[in-house]
Each structure stands twice: as C-alpha cells, then as structure tokens.
Symmetry: C2
C-alpha cells in the first residue's frame, strides 16, 4: 500500500493510457479523470486498477481507440448515440455534454447509447449533470453475471443506476448502486479468506442460494451460463429479490432497449465490440420552482434524516454520496491510497 | 370469501364512496376504479378494503371532499400541483392527465404534487401514462414506518415507486414496488400466526433486526417513533440495505422535495391534511426512434429473460406486471375474490 497525490496519479494514468494502451489524448484525459475520481472516492474496484481490463478489452477487440461516437437519432430533448465500440468514458462524456446542452434548452433531455464500453463509476456522470442544477441520472448494462428471480442462467449484468439531486451549491444526494446485492469483488474477498459469504449474494449452477464463496467462484469461472449474482433483495420473493431483479431489468430496458442496442446477454461476444449500452437523463431543477428554494427544502429533508435517532451502537446515518465525498476530501489532502497489486500493475504498464 | 363481478364491485364501491363517505361523483368514479383495479389484479391490500382508511382520513380531517387541485407552478414540460388536502386519486388523475398532455407536446413532462392523499396502487398511474406510448412513472411518500440504515427512528414511509415501459400494444413491463422489503400487511400475517418473520423485514425500538413479529407489532403501535420497517436489502450494508434506503430517500426527494411539500415525517399530523406528496413522469417512446421498432426490441429483450433457464424446482421467470395482468384477466372472467373482512366492511358501509 502506498499513497499518491491526486494530480500525480491523474498524470500517470493519462500517460499510461496514451503510451501503453494507445489512447488518443482526448480519450486518455477523460478516462484518467473518471478512474482517478473512483480511487479518490474510496471505490478502488472502479479505479486505475481497471487499466488491466481496459487493456484486455482493446486486445480482445471489444473496444477501439480513435473512434468517434455518432448521433443516430435526435429530437430537441433526446438523442441516441452509437459509440461504434469506442472508449466508454469518451463516449459517455460526449453523450452527457449533449444531454446537458439539450436540457438547458428543453427543460429536460434523455440519451440512450449503444455499442459503448465501460464508462467508470455511474455516479461520476450523474453528478456531472447535477452540477448544472439538474437531476442527473446514469445507467449502464454490463457483462452478464446476474440471475433473475427463479432463474439459474446469467442473463443480466450488475446493471448499476446512479441518480444525483443537488442539495446545495457544493453537495448532492448521489445514489450510485449496482442493482445486484454486491459486486463481484466482494465475493472474491470471501473466497480468498475461505470464509462463507452472506446469504442473498449468489446462487449456484442450479439457481439455489449458496454461501460457499470458494465453490461459487469455481462455478462462476468454469461455465459461462449458470450460477451467478443475486439482485438486491436476495433469493426468491420473501426478502424482495424480485424487486431488485425488476430494477436490474429496468436498467436493461432503458439502456439496451431504448438504444436498440445489445442486451447484457449479447455483450462481449468474441469478434465484435463489447456492446455495452448506457442511458442518461437530465431534468432541470427549475422545472419545479426557484432552484434556491428547492435546494433549501431538499437540504432540510436530508437534514431531518441525518438527525434521526441512531440504532444501538451506530453513530451516524449516512446520506448517499457522503462517504465518497469525504473520502475524496481526504484523498485530496493526504493522497490517494493504492494497494500493492495496483501499484504493480502501474509499474508493469510503465515498462511495457 | 366470495367473488363478485368487476362491474358490480365498481358500482358498489362508487355508490359507497358517494353515499357513505360523501365523495362527489367525479371523485368517486376514479377512486372506485383505482381500488377495484387493485382487487382485480390480486393486490387486495390496496383494494376496496381501503374504504375503511379513506373514511378514517375524512373523519380525521386528513382528507376533504369537494376540493379542486390547483396548479401552483408550471413550464411547458412540468407542473407543481397543490392538492389542497383533497381526494388522492382525484388529484392524481388530474396530475397524470396534465402530465400526459404536456408530454405529448414537449416530448417529456414531470409533475410534483403536494398536499394530496393516498392514490391507490402506484402502478395504476404509471401504466396509464404508458398507454400513451410513453415511459410512465409514479412515486409517492406515505405515512412514516421505515428506518434508514443505522437508524432506529421512523423517518420515511414505504415510499413506493412504479415505472411502466410499453412492451407491445397490450402489455407493459410494470415495476410497482414499495422500497421497503415488505408492506405492513405481510408482518401482520406472521403476527396472527405467532410465527417468526424472515430477517431483513424490520428492526425493534433499538434499531436492531428482529424476527419476532408479535413483539414488533406491539412496538410499532405502542410508540410513534422507534422501530419499524427495513428497506429493501435489509439491515445494515452487508446485504445492501443502504441501497434500498437510498431508493426510499430518492422517492422522498422527488415527491416531498420537488413539490416543496411535507416530508414523510410531517405527514398525518392531527389538525392538518395528511400532507402526502407524489411525483409523476412521462417520457415519449418516440424520443428514441420509431415506437414500433422500439417495442419490438423491448419485447425481444423481455422474451430472452422469460426463456432463461429456471432454478431447480421453478417453472417460470415472471416479468414485472405479468402476475397482476393474469390475475386481472382471471378476475374479469371469474369475478374478483373478496375476503370476509372486506365483505363485512362493504356491508357495514352500505347500512351506515
């Protein structure tokens, strides 16, 4: 573990993207920003350690540098973009800028994107829209890993959703969540420790709930179809697993459906682009009244929640986005922590 | 248990609303429709049994008949409505009609509503918008009953969300869910049977997870602040309870926040209207291309999910809204089942 200054990691990541991966300057600039933001916010699973995946995606032909996104359909308040298998963050940046611009004129705007690639943390894009005094949202499908309620076949991705609502000029409520119970990295931790994982995270190849992280990892990598992540709410309907599945499916319909793009099941087929799809939304706060009055009211509601009585042994109720914003402040002050594996990856790419 | 024909129950409910509760004809017509639709779809908790609650709300001064909703703010693609403590379904009907009309001209439209009342099943309103080849959404806050992650005080309601996306000319994907793990009725069933309820449904007055349904019911009714429902994902963060809490809080910010209305915590204060708030959204499908091509693609994605391999012992993967649509067809064919308590309530109101 070592720590590195934000600007230093940003420059290093940018240079590695250009020199080791062959990104154009403009692709590297936004990609480095999104990755370093994830590390700074305490989300290392989506940080610069992704350079490994990004390199594999380029080598596998799933992603290409030097490609421009194309608007294939538009109205005054909407657009559909074909990313032509380009760099995910570069495509998302283009889509989000166009969406914000249209919302500034039309009041709200929505954008569906097909043939894109991994765009980093969804919250980055939702928050960027919210910075314009809008309600920002960002959705994406992913490589398949998740199982519908009563199923056993991986037909959907972790399908995260992010929604940002401005609270004041500095902060926003930022819900950024996989619609599955957990991301894969959390299961890997239990496997490495040979410990049982909590119920409600995953099912085996028969579609039956399992807490055996090591057996699950074997199943997950030995076959491409059966056994996988459960959606939020866990197995079956008793604890609401069908609700989480519904949220994951909603994300799929918005991203793959409205872009006329590939479904999660069709992503990452060898010989073609990854086929990842996104959806973005921007709704101006002043559609509902004077933004300052609205922010004041939104803040008052959030303060009520913050001030609610705590559970036994708990000191704080966290509003969504607070932990990440505080981690970011700490990172700017004290540097960004990087684990040994990530440091080794950066070193390897530097000498590639 | 008896069964009753749809049209007969509709007329009976309408007449009871007018004669026993004092609703105006136009208030009774839409309210009867929403309640009977819930019974027909197999959601009796939100059906005509609610007449009891609606009568109590009138008597308690939380709701009033004979009041018209008022537009207090609007733009070409948005409006804020003050319901002036009128009848919830009547206000929602007005809001949804206005929202659809604006979306037909602007492409999309959004509506925040304050000082309303219970509007029945959220899915009814989302689906109504979807019938116009739009993505329909409906959100509402409710009386407080739910506990944030790491809290012990009821500061939010069950805060349901509903989103409908057309699949073909007949059907839509219809996700209609409380953001809490379960509604209160499910806990009552375990209490009546003196059985432990599943983990992840509720916490006690200390904010600690409990499976003792009988003890929980006592806590829930003996004090107004501590102990209550958990959000989807259950207790703490391990199984994603903070995600469900985030969804409930999102609903609160959209409804109470954007309407400048009361938060869940401020609802149902004696001496004033209930203060319930809603939010509706309508986004035209043709913002993203030819609706027929989009529906065909959405249907293809849903069919892939339907055809996925089933878990051991399971025969079917349900798309959201299918169970309810099939129950509705059965009800139209065979009559709507009403339990004894509901029959007795209707009888009592008829002789009031």
């Amino acid at each position: 573990m070592k720590t590195i200054q934000y600007d230093e990691l940003l420059k290093l990541t940018h240079d590695l993207l250009v020199n080791a991966l062959g990104y154009r300057e403009e692709e590297a600039a936004i990609t480095a920003r999104v990755l370093v933001e994830a590390d700074a916010r305490g989300i290392p699973s989506h940080g610069v350690s992704r350079l490994d995946l990004y390199q594999k995606n380029l080598r596998g032909g799933f992603a290409k540098t030097g490609v421009e996104p194309e608007i294939v359909f538009e109205t005054p308040s909407s657009l559909v973009i074909d990313g032509h298998d380009g760099i995910g963050s570069y495509i998302a940046d283009y889509a989000v800028q166009k969406t914000i611009h249209k919302a500034q004129h039309a009041g709200s705007a929505f954008c569906a994107v097909r043939n894109s690639n991994h765009y980093g943390i969804a919250g980055f894009w939702a928050e960027r829209i919210a910075a314009y005094a809008m309600i920002g949202s960002a959705f994406t499908n992913t490589r398949t890993c998740a199982i519908p309620t009563f199923g056993r076949e991986r037909v959907l991705g972790t399908n995260p959703l992010a929604i940002a609502i401005p609270e004041d000029d500095e902060r926003c409520f930022l819900l950024d969540m996989a619609t599955t119970t957990v991301s894969h990295g959390k299961i890997e931790v239990y496997d490495r420790r040979s410990q049982p994982m909590p119920a409600g995270w995953a099912v085996d190849a028969e579609g039956v709930g399992t807490t055996d992280a090591t057996a699950f990892e074997k199943i997950f990598y030995e076959n491409e179809r059966y056994g996988g992540h459960l959606f939020l709410g866990g197995e079956g309907e008793e604890t609401g697993g069908h609700k989480g599945f519904g949220l994951g499916l909603l994300v799929e319909l918005l991203c793959s459906g409205l872009s006329l793009g590939m479904s999660s099941l069709e992503t990452f087929v060898p010989g073609q682009g990854s086929g990842i799809t996104h959806f973005f939304g921007a709704i101006r706060l002043d559609l509902f009244g004077p933004p300052d009055a609205l922010k004041k009211h939104l803040k008052a509601i959030l303060d009520t929640i913050r001030q609610g009585q705590k559970a036994s042994g708990q000191a704080r109720i966290y509003i969504h986005g607070e932990k990440e914003a505080e981690a970011r402040e700490r990172s700017l002050r004290e540097g960004i922590p990087l684990d040994d594996a990530t440091c080794a990856l950066l070193e390897k790419l530097r000498h590639a």
